[in-house]
């Protein structure tokens, strides 16, 4: 009996692996995201955006008649899982390009390993270490398709001081999270060059903390004008609610993760939050796709959706021009200039593998809705 079961399982495994052999006339693109795990909301949205783009491309005939297939691997917020999946995509799946994660610790883990392979990774992890080696040279295959933490931190600081006349800041950030930490430094550095400003107090917290009242009370006691909190959405909700609960009514400056659906999840305490975003929801092109996606799935398309969408379309355009060989794709990505996407006009700087002059938009939440305040062109990396 046991022997029969073993033989049946073996046959099943062979059948499954035979079916999994890729059809040779498909264009294969890898998608390495957290579909489950703590940052799954980000990864799922990138995958959804990429898949939407794939569906659009395939409906209009594919790339020179070839259908596009998105091979998605769930990294589960686990670095080891991500490395294994990355290797699988490069070696056995043989994809032409990989749509990479927005999560810094996964990006940083994959970066050195990507040197051994030829597949370019178009990712969104804004921590510099995910694209640039300690020597200052970029990793051959790592690319960043949204403004880096240096640029985003600088924009937020600049806006807070020049547009809102805020002078004293308190910073609360997740000490154990690379994304959070990477946004603190540039913010502070920008303030150093703006006279009359200072960071009155910096309060780090640990990844699993949920009660911020004491820490926020310390910040409030330092008489700050505004609180800067570059953290993930769940913590932002708690920070907003608890900051208002202890009586702090000044502006709260948040990063990307305060984009919708943050305001609806948080409730009335979200009013007055200022945040940065890659897109603005009222843009007609964005609205068309958001409505269609909402109707199809009942979910709101976040900024990550559009990042995934743009990057997939870029890969498709490149494959159409240079073919599906990963090395050719890598060269084309490195020299990408002036691609007009939904998240802005994208040009890659070959010296850093990051974007040049990509736009970010500062918003404020009024009555639960995002209101555009000012568009910024990301400052050039020094």
């Amino acid at each position: 009996m046991k022997k029969t079961i073993a033989i049946l399982l073996l046959a099943l495994a062979v059948a499954v692996s035979a079916n999994a052999a890729p059809a040779s006339n498909e264009v294969l693109v890898g998608c390495l995201q957290d579909i489950t795990g703590p940052t799954s909301t980000l990864g799922k949205m990138i995958k959804e955006g990429a898949q939407w783009a794939v569906d659009e491309i395939n409906k209009s005939g594919g790339i020179k008649g070839r259908q596009v297939k998105l091979i998605v691997y769930d990294t589960r917020g686990d670095v080891q899982e991500a490395i294994n999946a990355f290797k699988r995509l490069c070696t056995s799946d043989k994809v032409s390009a990989i749509i990479g994660p927005p999560v810094a610790n996964i990006g940083i883990a994959i970066a050195p390993i990507s040197e051994q392979y030829k597949v370019p990774v178009l990712g969104f992890a804004i921590d510099d270490r995910a694209t640039i080696k300690p020597s200052g040279q970029p990793y051959k295959n790592m690319f960043l398709f949204q403004p880096s933490s240096d640029q985003q931190g600088a924009i937020m600081a600049d806006f807070a001081v020049r547009e809102r006349n805020l002078k004293n800041f308190g910073i609360i950030y997740n000490q154990g999270n690379a994304y959070s930490v990477s946004l603190v430094g540039p913010f502070k550095d920008t303030l150093k060059n703006l006279p009359g400003t200072n960071v009155a107090i910096e309060v780090p917290y640990q990844p699993n903390d949920k009660d911020f009242k004491t820490m926020l009370s310390k910040i409030k006691a330092a008489n700050v004008d505004a609180i800067y909190a570059p953290n993930y959405t769940q913590e932002l909700i708690l920070i907003s609610q608890q900051a208002r609960a202890i009586g702090f009514n000044g502006p709260l400056i948040f990063g990307l993760d305060a984009c919708p659906p943050f305001a609806s999840l948080c409730g009335p305490e979200a009013d007055g939050v200022i945040y940065i975003n890659n897109i603005t929801e009222s843009d007609p092109q964005i609205q068309d796709i958001s409505q269609a996606y909402l109707q199809k799935t009942g979910n709101i398309a976040t900024n990550k959706f559009f990042l995934g969408y743009d990057v997939m379309k870029i890969i498709a355009k490149i494959v159409e021009t240079v073919g599906d060989d990963p090395e050719a794709v890598q060269k084309a990505v490195e020299n990408l200039t002036g691609y007009v996407g939904l998240t802005g006009t994208i040009t890659i700087n070959p010296a850093t593998h990051q974007t040049i002059g990509l736009e970010m938009i500062m918003h404020e939440i009024k009555n639960g809705q995002p209101v555009v305040l000012k568009r910024y062109t990301a400052p050039t990396k020094k």
């Binding site: 917290y205 949920k210 004491t214 009370s217 609960a245 202890i246 009586g247």
Partner: protein, 290 residues
């Protein structure tokens, strides 16, 4: 501002106290740390959440639903994870291990159902805080404070004055003799689990309101465990006092040392208690506990 810090500390302590009451009930009756308590809190909180968004009723019905589902889940857990141990008169360490795996099971089921996302209860309180002069107190913290003392009071009265309470206490002292006296031990153990689960459901709802609802919410049961250890085995009021003290200590530590080192000191305090005064603040000496 230091009065506000103390209020924050007591508020945090009330969160822990509500967890500790449910946890200490099983700790006292069955002499083991029921680490499934955390995931029962989470699971019943999620069931309450589903009820809340489907029916759009207010806080009170949601609490009733959560408490009922917590009780039922606990009884189910007792059947799956603990019944055979009770029947075979196993030592408390096996209950402890079994409770951890039961907890993992419930948490995994919640994660499959809820996904790794987090959810927010619909807004039950129009105004989140009560302001008295310079001090702000969160409404849900206040309710948790009052409810944990109320639950404690009711439980103590039930255990001390009612017939069923006496039977439960008899079962906790010596199961063999209790059954010889004609007490149905299994039914009374089930009652204890039901009550513990119901309290878990209650804590789950308020934790969800305070900290958003996510599958790992049950990890806060560790604080209930520490509170019970500090408060002492055999004393429910000790567990609640221990929880409030724990909340106060943590808040003061976070304020002065920072959030990174605070847990280190919290665990050090617990270790000191275990070494120096293992019966806790008001506990009595018990031969074996897990």
């Amino acid at each position: 501002m230091s009065l506000q810090i103390i209020i924050n500390g007591i508020a945090l302590g009330s969160v822990y106290a509500l967890i500790a009451v449910g946890f200490a009930l099983i700790f006292n009756i069955l002499k083991f740390s029921n680490f499934a308590h955390g995931s029962i809190m989470t699971a019943s909180a999620f069931l309450g959440y589903l009820f809340a968004i489907k029916t759009k009723l207010g806080l009170f019905p949601v609490i009733i639903v959560s408490m009922l589902s917590g009780g039922i889940l606990a009884i189910l857990g007792e059947l799956i994870a603990f019944r055979r141990l009770v029947v075979r008169k196993a030592s408390p360490i096996y209950y402890f291990v079994s409770s951890i795996t039961l907890g993992s099971l419930y948490e995994a089921i919640v994660t499959i159902g809820a996904g790794p996302n987090f959810y927010n209860y619909p807004r039950f309180f129009k105004k989140l805080v009560i302001s008295i002069g310079n001090i702000v107190i969160s409404r849900s913290d206040m309710i948790m404070f009052l409810t944990s003392w109320l639950a404690l009071g009711l439980l103590v009265v039930m255990l001390a004055k009612t017939r069923i309470g006496r039977a439960v206490r008899a079962v906790s002292f010596d199961r063999g003799t209790a059954s010889l006296m004609g007490i149905d031990t299994i039914h009374h153990i089930q009652l204890a689990f039901f009550l513990s689960g119901a309290l878990g459901g209650l804590s789950g709802v308020f934790l969800g309101i305070n900290y958003t609802l996510y599958p790992q919410l049950g990890n806060l049961v560790t604080k209930g465990f520490i509170a019970s250890v500090i408060g002492g085995l055999g004393s429910m009021s000790g567990a609640v006092i221990g929880a409030v003290l724990l909340g106060l200590t943590e808040t003061l530590l976070i304020n002065f040392i920072g959030s990174g080192y605070a847990p280190v000191f919290t665990f050090l305090i617990m270790l000191v208690f275990l070494l120096v005064h293992p019966q806790g603040i008001s506990g009595s000496n018990v031969q074996e506990k897990a």
